[in-house]
């Protein structure tokens, strides 16, 4: 957001004061600050992570968007770029990392794999899209999305951030301030704790079906 946009909150500024004072709304300045300093988590999963690193490197340079500070710790990051194939073995860790990120937090699914399973979707160790477990804000198709496509997604995310309001923000409303997602369990296959009852039901009926030939 350039300063002109930032300073036009929709109020009439008397001509004699124009250029002298700046008026903005709290939302705008707050969102402007947030959108221009999104710190991604240093977190690479697969091939897409290489393109993410290239995006952060000198040719594309996320520093121009205030995003160059990749934090290895989830506690210090605002954005999780899920850059690659999400496997069943990895998803408990991803969910845990997501839970540990402080609000406001965003998730960007980079590439076909993170968005919807990707070319390896049919595999036995692959989660068909990270949105099965954690809420995703921006999806970028492509395999891998080129660095410019990723930047396009990041700009989209900035737009989303700018459209939010302090009043309606999830993390300022009353009630539990964190969205804790139950961590999946590695059993005989991946167990989503939110679906335990269903799993039990289904494996019971499966047994019945087996019993009567």
């Amino acid at each position: 957001m350039d300063s002109k946009e930032l300073n036009s909150p929709g109020y009439d500024v008397p001509p004699e004061l124009q250029g002298q004072v700046a008026i903005t709304t709290l939302d705008r300045i707050y969102n402007w600050g947030r959108a221009a300093s999104v710190w991604p988590m240093m977190f690479g999963l697969a091939c897409c992570a290489i393109e993410m690193i290239c995006t952060a490197a000198s040719r594309f340079d996320t520093a121009r968007f205030g995003m160059e500070i990749m934090r290895p710790s989830p506690r210090q990051s605002d954005l999780m770029i899920v850059s690659g194939t999400v496997t069943k073995k990895m998803i408990p860790i991803i969910v845990r990392l997501y839970n540990q990120m402080p609000e406001p937090k965003y998730v960007l699914a980079m590439g076909a794999c993170a968005s919807g399973g990707g070319p390896f979707k049919e595999g036995y160790n692959v989660v068909p899209g990270v949105d099965r477990f954690i809420p995703v804000d921006v999806y970028i198709p492509g395999c891998p999305p080129t660095p410019q496509a990723l930047l396009n997604g990041l700009i989209k995310l900035q737009e989303k951030i700018k459209g939010q309001s302090i009043k309606g923000a999830r993390w300022y409303t009353k009630g539990p301030d964190e969205v804790e997602i139950p961590i999946p369990i590695l059993g005989p296959d991946l167990i989503d704790p939110r679906k335990i009852d269903q799993i039990k039901q289904i494996s019971k009926t499966a047994k019945k079906a087996e019993a009567q030939p």
Binding site: T85, T87, K89, E122, N125, V126, P128, L190, I196
Partner: protein
């Protein structure tokens, strides 16, 4: 390309009468060894015939014949063709084969993989745990009668796509809407899950020193989310203070079931999938796969295609090595500067890839019998400019930046040493092997494509430490530049493919093992065709994965901070480790 030693020249059957027979199936080669004699056979092969290097070990499930087979490919580090031998056992659990760990310690991770994915028990393996899936996972997924939740059909193309391709998400076809399936009668509330205990137990098996002091060792997990692990790799470490007493690599966090999907794909469909193995060097991966299938099909690419292939493979090596050097320095604490310099050169090479193949990373450029398309206009000049003008300059500059830096030298010289004997024993490959003083390079040891025409030296260094592994990458980049310069000069005109482009190639039945010298080391493909449209077995000998066999032994006794550097100097890519 491998041409296994003709069976007649070595009369191993006479040596082991009754228990070793030549493999006489159509299109197959090598020896079938009775499992009782396996270890003594391997000993003879290693000690008397000099096949000291175990390249690949994998299992094959011959479901219709009711047999399980383990296939071994061994080579001599002095060069020359390899030797194949196999063990066949009935396909009834428990499937048991003696472990070759006592003869070839490099079998460690590969046997664990065969156990994990095929359920072959290797008797005598000291630490036979699952390696790619987690402990407690139900079933052995590479068996032909094992099906995943999203299973559609045995072979692609699926019938549901055309002519009546009503779009459905795979998720909508499973009862839970997820890619999961559970054994009948499974009760998630009562079951106990414990994927880690076995790991920690095996980790604690090390020789304890009795100091008489009341000290305790500490268990630390690094990764899978850790900035130094280059992806989702995990190390479980036991520390005595800051010194490592035991380290186990833990992988599988990016296991994408390449081989299972690959056995469902048609031969051509696997080409873009190979891009995603070692995603930093897709051209090399294409190369290996194309060579292997061409060997089965018996086609030879035309001259121009051969030259283009070499140029692309060597550009890939350069791109990979500058990246690896940059990241090694990043791991050693130099933060981003060397990496950014490396990435700049890589970007320029990626521009060339993008121009010829359409994608920066996932090139999908090789076809059986040639390459997908000719070099577009202007690309050759670009390659010329980079190879003759820019890269030699820039590599010198990068070396000036790093090679003499006292901090780099103190942190890397003498650290993480791998001796020459150990490097061979653990089946290390590529720069890791050559930095330990073994001048073994598939391009020279068993030239494939047209590598026998180029003049280049096999880079070799002798100390086997982190510093040598960094410097050998500079040496290799220089040799690659030399090769590219020769290839660009000699590039002939003519067609770029030997066959009419067809999407359904006919591959005669048989087996083939093709290997190339990838940037990370010897990359091998073991493909079995039964004459159908899909391969029966599609196995990848991943250099990153097998190089990790030596990782634990290399790190024992080091400080924890140096482990990061050792890992960086091996240069792994998780897509290839986990496949």
């Amino acid at each position: 390309m491998t041409t296994p030693a003709p069976t007649q020249t070595l009369d191993l059957a006479a040596r082991f009468p009754g228990s070793v027979t030549p493999d006489e199936r159509e299109g197959y080669d090598g020896w079938i060894v009775a499992k009782e004699k396996l270890i003594s056979f391997a000993q003879v092969v290693r000690d008397e015939f000099g096949y000291d290097y175990l390249s690949s070990l994998t299992g094959v499930d011959y479901l219709p014949e009711g047999k399980m087979e383990v296939v071994y490919h061994v080579y001599k580090t002095t060069g020359g063709p390899g030797l194949i031998f196999k063990v066949q056992v009935p396909r009834q659990d428990p499937i048991e084969v003696p472990s070759l760990m006592p003869v070839y310690p490099g079998a460690d991770l590969q046997e664990r993989e065969a156990w994990d994915l095929l359920g072959i028990k290797f008797i005598g393996h000291p630490d036979l745990r699952r390696v790619l899936m987690w402990e407690g996972f139900e079933g052995h997924p590479l068996r032909k009668d094992w099906q995943e939740a999203f299973f559609e059909e045995e072979a692609k193309p699926f019938k549901s796509r055309w002519p009546d391709g009503q779009f459905t998400m795979a998720e909508d076809r499973t009862p839970l809407g997820d890619n999961v399936a559970f054994p009948a009668g499974f009760d998630p509330k009562k079951a106990r899950f414990d994927p880690e205990t076995a790991l920690y137990e095996s980790l604690r098996q090390y020789d304890k020193e009795e100091t008489g002091l009341e000290t305790d060792h500490m268990l630390v997990n690094m990764g899978p989310h850790h900035p130094s692990t280059h992806g989702v790799f995990r190390m479980a470490v036991i520390l005595d203070g800051e010194t490592i007493v035991s380290l186990k690599p833990v992988m599988g966090y990016l296991h994408r079931n390449h081989e299972k999907i690959g056995e469902r794909n048609t031969f051509l469909m696997n080409m873009p999938y190979t891009d995603r193995l070692d995603y930093l060097s897709s051209m090399s991966n294409n190369f290996g796969y194309a060579l292997t299938v061409e060997k089965l099909m018996g086609v030879k690419p035309p001259e121009r295609a051969e030259y283009i292939r070499v140029i692309m493979a060597e550009l890939t090596r350069i791109a990979n090595h500058v990246w690896a050097i940059g990241f090694l320095l990043n791991d050693l604490g130099a933060y981003f500067t060397p990496m950014l310099y490396g990435v700049e050169e890589r970007e320029l090479i990626l521009d060339i890839f993008e121009a010829v193949s359409g994608s920066r990373m996932m090139c999908n450029y090789f076809r059986f019998g040639g390459v997908a398309r000719d070099l577009p206009e202007g690309t050759l000049e670009k390659i010329h400019g980079i190879a003759f003008d820019r890269l030699p300059r820039k590599i010198d500059e990068l070396e000036r930046l790093l090679a003499e830096n006292e901090i780099v030298r103190t942190r890397s010289i003498g650290q993480g040493v791998l001796s020459a004997e150990d490097a061979i024993r653990y089946s290390a490959a590529g720069p890791l092997l050559r930095a330990s003083g073994i001048p073994y390079d598939v391009r020279r040891a068993e030239p494939y494509g047209i590598y026998d025409r180029f003049e280049f030296d096999v880079a070799v260094r002798y100390n086997g430490d982190i510093y040598d592994r960094m410097m050998i990458r500079f040496d290799e980049v220089r040799q690659s530049i030399r090769i590219i310069q020769q290839a660009v000069k000699d590039l002939p005109g003519g067609p770029i493919t030997a066959m009419k482009p067809v999407y359904q190639v006919r591959v005669p039945a048989g087996e083939a093992y093709g290997r190339v010298e990838g940037p990370k080391g010897e990359l091998g493909y073991y493909v079995i065709s039964t004459g159908k449209s899909t391969p029966w077995r599609y196995h990848i000998r991943a250099p990153s994965f097998i190089n990790l066999t030596a990782f634990g032994p290399m790190c024992t006794g080091l400080k924890i901070a140096d482990v990061v550097g050792v890992l960086g100097s091996i240069d792994i890519v998780l897509g290839e480790v986990d496949r």
